[in-house]
């Protein structure tokens, strides 16, 4: 146990991304990371199933992606900052993804913000 993370398990709704997690989920993290390349984005949009298979994803991972289950992907061990790249390709803003992870509608989520117009 990394002593710098002592007690983090008591913070609800939070998933520390560490080497152990990353080692288990490197493929799916790479799949999302590759979305920074225009060529990969285009290939994915044309043939999502083919590109997911090529990336070595397992069935659980493919299913989470098909459903765009953002929270499920985070819980599976995907780093948010590669997921964010996928959000661009899926044409979701970060704020929309945040609302989904909280299980709220976008408008309800924005009402909880101080400046709901800052989009």
């Amino acid at each position: 146990m990394n002593p710098q993370l002592e007690g983090i398990e008591n913070i609800e709704g939070t998933y520390a991304f560490d080497i152990r997690t990353c080692n288990r989920t490197l493929n799916v993290n790479r799949f999302f990371w590759n979305m920074i390349k225009a060529e990969w984005r285009e290939r994915y949009l044309k043939d999502p199933e083919g590109v997911m298979t090529e990336a070595g994803l397992n069935d659980t991972e493919k299913d989470l992606i098909r459903k765009q289950d953002w929270l499920g992907l985070v819980q599976h061990g995907v780093n948010f900052f590669v997921l964010e790249k996928f959000a661009r390709v899926a044409r979701k803003s970060n704020l929309e993804v945040y609302a989904i992870m909280r299980g709220e509608s976008f408008e309800d989520f924005m009402k909880t913000r101080r400046v709901p117009d800052a989009r």
């Binding site: 710098q4 709704g13 560490d18 790479r30 780093n79």
Partner: protein, 296 residues
């Protein structure tokens, strides 16, 4: 000799870049953010800042987890700004200074900081998001960047204390560079925010203001905290505030706040703060540093 003339703490959320690129500078929801940077941009121009040492983090753009560095320093005359999934931004390539970057790298490695050196790679919004708010850049940037990327994504992260020590070593590196350059240290990230999991949207303004106060007057207290403490108090992604500690480490013991803007609009407490070293105490600090170096 090169000298550090001040430091800037700034958020780096991609939202800033997005609003900037969309020309939202006068939009009522965004104006308080952009206006908050104007005194800092003016100060940089007035003080003729030649170099910004940018302590920022990569967000799995330049680097992937197949090879993720704790501290990485970029060397190059130019760095493209990265496409992070939404295409390229209309900005000139970031400008570097190979001789200065190499000097700082040599100084830090000889000072027992185990850098990774990167070259010829595009740079992430951790640096590129606040940069155009700080420096005018038409047709080109007025000075050079020394990009120093810190791992705040994949635990284990460098400890808060290690980041502070990095800042102290950056000061030694800058002050041993023989050219007359005005150098500003920029620490990026935060303040409170969490953008993953069910706790997404967490903020803590009280802690943010306490952090800013401690940063100026009692940074040692911030060094004793664990990463879990930062996550608890400011939200998971606020742990990146350890980069502000690196900035702080490069400054003298006493610093004066010249400007601060805190704007919590949606999910991140967007903040910019500018400090200068206290002129009166600076002499004493330098004597202490010299004594420490002699004993090392």
């Amino acid at each position: 000799m090169a000298k550090i003339i001040g430091c800037i703490g700034t958020s780096h959320v991609p939202t800033i870049a997005l609003a900037y690129d969309r020309g939202r500078q006068e939009d009522p929801a965004w104006k308080p953010l952009f206006d908050g940077y104007k005194p800092v941009a003016q100060w940089l121009e007035d003080k003729k800042a030649d170099v910004l040492v940018f302590i920022y983090n990569d967000h799995a753009t330049t680097f992937f987890f197949d090879m993720y560095p704790t501290f990485a320093l970029g060397v190059g005359e130019r760095f493209p700004i990265a496409d992070e999934g939404a295409g390229l931004r209309n900005l000139p390539q970031i400008k570097g200074d190979v001789d200065l970057q190499a000097h700082i790298a040599e100084s830090l490695v000889n000072d027992e900081f185990d850098l990774t050196i990167f070259q010829n790679k595009p740079i992430d919004h951790g640096c590129a998001s606040p940069l155009p708010l700080l420096w005018k850049h038409e047709p080109d940037w007025p000075g050079a960047i020394v990009p120093i990327a810190v791992n705040v994504l994949q635990y284990p992260l460098p400890t808060p204390r290690r980041c502070y020590k990095l800042g102290q070593a950056i000061r030694r590196a800058v002050e041993s560079y023989p050219k007359d350059l005005n150098v500003v240290i920029v620490g990026t990230g935060g303040l409170s925010h969490q953008i993953h999991g069910e706790r997404t949207g967490f903020n803590n303004e009280e802690w943010d203001l306490e952090f800013l106060e401690l940063l100026q007057n009692n940074p040692q207290k911030l060094l004793d905290m664990t990463h879990a403490d930062y996550v608890r108090l400011g939200g998971a992604e606020s742990v990146e505030q350890i980069m502000w500690l690196a900035m702080r480490g490069a400054m003298p013991e006493k610093i004066n706040k010249i400007h601060q803007n805190y704007y919590l609009a949606t999910t991140t407490a967007m903040t910019v703060v500018l400090f200068e070293g206290d002129e009166v105490s600076a002499g004493a600090d330098q004597a202490t540093a010299a004594a420490a170096a002699a004993n090392a």
